[in-house]
Subunit: 360 residues, 2 copies
């Protein structure tokens, strides 16, 4: 039974780990140590600890680029250690914290570096990171929004794809995500928090305040549509795996359901289910998008059926351009086709945000 759980996670998320930068050599080692789900966390954590040790070793020798890379590898290892590991809440929380701390150690050493920010809103703060493409004055910027179990530490590789194209990147944890969840669980108005980040970006002299886009992955695709629909400053929106409405609760894999429950902050599963089913719904929202919209989805997505992508795109009548991209062989977020879809999304964003392509 527990091996079936491992197989199911590997099936649903095939390609995701390596696409996010986990070394396939490490993944082979990790998976060779996992026979049941209980092995998942320690197998990943061991690899993370080893990279952390190497990071400190490199730092002592003044090898800053390697130290950054090792700490980042440690961080992504802990990210996937705690990933869906709801069977041991304390351990999972510990994994989250380790991921955050290790990424914070990597951030100033990455090339280009990731600058930490904390934005006050109400009585909480939104934590995030900004990375700037070298040699690009007044750079356009893409705000990256994570999904149900993603956080601001997960997108280093995709950030690099954007940075190569001269686009700055900004990641943050919103309600229910990563560092912010303890202060603030899921809320239906994610767009308020994204707008606060866009406010903050307006004042950065290295950025062009008129060229801001958002990209959201998985449940983040839902957040991104809301953010773009309610904020005219956002000129383009990429939905990397659509969520139009909450899929039927009982048809979700058990761990995904536990993820939703966790993020909701509700004690009882029944309350989580009600909150999420009532509020995760884009009816009347996508039509507010006036900038560009790209909706990418895999026809073989096991979590969210592709018709949700069609509905998002179909309702966004004023989006221009409005591009629906369904990959016939793609799984959830098309992680199994990462070498194709990541450059494609990065290009599309680059075209929307390039100088002289005003659209609103």
């Amino acid at each position: 039974v527990t091996r079936a759980l491992v197989d199911s996670v590997l099936h649903v998320h095939a390609g995701r780990f390596v696409a996010d930068g986990v070394s396939p050599l490490d993944l082979d080692v990790i998976l060779s140590r996992v026979t049941e789900w209980a092995d998942w966390f320690p197998a990943w954590a061991d690899v993370g600890d080893e990279y952390e040790r190497r990071g400190h070793e490199a730092l002592v020798l003044g090898r800053t680029v390697s130290a950054g890379e090792f700490f980042w590898r440690a961080s992504i290892s802990y990210h996937y250690a705690q990933f869906l590991f709801f069977q041991d809440r304390l351990r999972r929380e510990h994994g989250q914290q380790r991921k955050e701390q290790l990424y914070a150690a990597a951030a100033p050493l990455l090339v280009p570096r990731a600058e930490r920010f904390d934005i006050a809103i109400d009585d909480v703060t939104i934590p995030g990171y900004l990375r700037l493409p070298p040699g690009v004055p007044a750079a356009p910027v893409v705000v990256l929004i994570g999904g149900l179990e993603s956080t601001k530490e997960e997108s280093y590789e995709f950030e690099n794809a954007l940075l190569r194209r001269g686009l700055a990147t900004c990641t943050f944890d919103g309600p229910g995500q990563g560092e912010m969840r303890a202060q603030l669980p899921y809320r239906p108005d994610f767009e308020r928090y994204c707008a606060a980040v866009v406010d903050w970006l307006q004042d950065r002299s290295e950025l062009d305040p008129d060229r801001v886009a958002v990209l959201g992955r998985s449940l983040g695709g839902y957040y991104a549509v809301r953010s773009a629909a309610f904020d005219r400053r956002i000129r383009a929106c990429v939905v990397w795996g659509a969520v139009y409405e909450m899929p039927p609760w009982d048809r979700l894999p058990e761990l995904t359901r536990m993820g939703f429950h966790y993020v909701s902050g509700e004690r009882r599963e029944e309350d989580a289910r009600r909150l999420l089913t009532e509020s995760i719904d884009l009816r009347g929202v996508a039509s507010g998008i006036r900038g560009g919209l790209l909706v990418l989805h895999g026809a073989r997505d096991d979590l969210i059926p592709a018709d949700q992508a069609q509905r998002v795109s179909g309702e966004a009548a004023r989006a221009d351009p409005n591009t629906l991209w369904v990959e016939p062989e793609g799984n959830h977020c098309c992680h199994n086709l990462s070498t194709i879809i990541r450059p494609g999304m990065a290009d599309w964003l680059s075209e929307r945000l390039a100088p002289g392509t005003g659209m609103i």
Copy 2:
């Protein structure tokens, strides 16, 4: 029997393909199509053709960064299609040419771009590529030397690791390698050709002529030692997998033997064996190295035993520093430990070539 050949290649070269940038997702697809050795070439070539098609598609749309990435993926796919594929010489030659053409298409589109050069020497030309780190005036430069079946198109990922550290990269095909082999097979004086490349680098205003290093991989480690020993302009030398002398011919895997035979340019295997066994020998050579020397080797190298690394390092009495790095779990060139050894070599080079670290 033929499946045993596939397994043997995968075992000896474990980790190499993905470390050189092949997507593990593509590798899974490719290996699922290989049941016997005859399947090897077409399985890789199909993936290469698909990326080539996407490259042209991206180019038409003006998506130059993606086009560069797709053409490079096509090139590395053809590189590994023809890799050790001696059972069909015509097809292998075709794969070599496809690799060269596809990399040539990628080169101006890579970030940073690879600039093609051709250096005349005697009545032949040395072809190569130069990549410059953005924003670094008078950059140090590392000359990368391939091995028995590597060529100037293979090292994109490792080049990126050097470029991130502010080091320029220069790759070329010498005697017996890639584009040059048809004009000129293996010769015992590889260092003459490397010196011609170093001559050419001296005149590039973007580079610091006083900060030049060489790095050679596998048989290229042998070439690199010769090059550094005979050229005082080379301040540091990395041996990424040592070859002190030709290993006993009959103990080599069949395909490696065929590789040596091919590179030698001799018609009869017996003549290839004699030429190589007599000339591949560092006795009295490594002692000429006056700059820094790093010798990296895997204790589990199936092709070249680790004592060859000890002999290279041991004879280089005047090298300073003289670092011997043997990884207990490392295979040939430690490709199975790429996330560790690649940053390590890049750091070591960075430290040797940084301003103010004069050593000769």
